[in-house]
Amino acid sequence: MSTTRKKNIRIRRKKPSLDASNVVVVTHTTEKDTLVPEKLKKANEMLSKSKMMNS
């Protein structure tokens, strides 16, 4: 009679580091379909630095 023993195998996963090579920057590109990409870029830049009113 044969017996099977389960082996406890531990897999050690390396904890990902937060160096630049592991960071994925997600950007929302909305400038590809516009006729005025530079102006849209400028609008986004201004809006990112703006304190807006609640609407």
């Binding site: 909305t30 400038e31 516009t34 006729l35 102006k39 609008a43 809006l47 630095k49 703006s50 304190k51």
Partner: protein, 150 residues
């Protein structure tokens, strides 16, 4: 603004084209593009050139500026009627042109303010702040916003 306007046609829901007929015929576009802020669209306006490129800095001097601006205003009303929840931002390609837009808003403030909430951006140090647009204000506006009163 009950002035004469050019007839225009849509290219999709976010682009309009019309022809300015003054000293020469110039094709114009008005382009509404979503910004990275939800429900806030940028208004682009300029000339469509014969080689297919665009120019939003041109001073056409075609002798029909009032009719062209009235057409742009009508297109903005048309777009915001279809999408009343969308707020628009617009500014000129130069500070002088942004000032011109401010003067136009001042001239037609009584008319526009019945249909739109009009606000503007002013510079406060390195940042900007949105405030209510006031006709003849000494503020230097960097951009304007309009949103339909719902």
């Amino acid at each position: 603004m009950t002035r004469a306007t050019y007839s225009y046609k849509n290219q999709g829901t976010e682009r309009y084209i019309f022809t300015s007929i003054g000293k020469k015929a110039i094709h114009k576009f008005v382009d509404f593009s979503p910004t990275q802020t939800p429900n806030l669209y940028n208004v682009g306006f300029g000339d469509l050139l014969q080689d297919g490129s665009i120019d939003d800095t041109a001073n056409s001097n075609n002798g029909d500026m009032i009719k062209v601006l009235a057409t742009v205003a009508q297109i903005i009303k048309d777009f915001t009627t279809q999408f009343p929840e969308i707020k628009l931002i617009f500014f000129g390609s130069t500070p002088e042109r942004t000032n011109l837009y401010g003067r136009i808003l001042t001239t037609y403030y009584m008319d526009f303010s019945k249909e739109f909430v009009i606000t503007a951006l002013i510079k406060t140090g390195p940042r900007f702040q949105e405030i209510f647009f006031a006709p003849n204000s000494p503020n230097i506006y960097c951009a304007f916003f309009i949103k339909r009163i719902l």
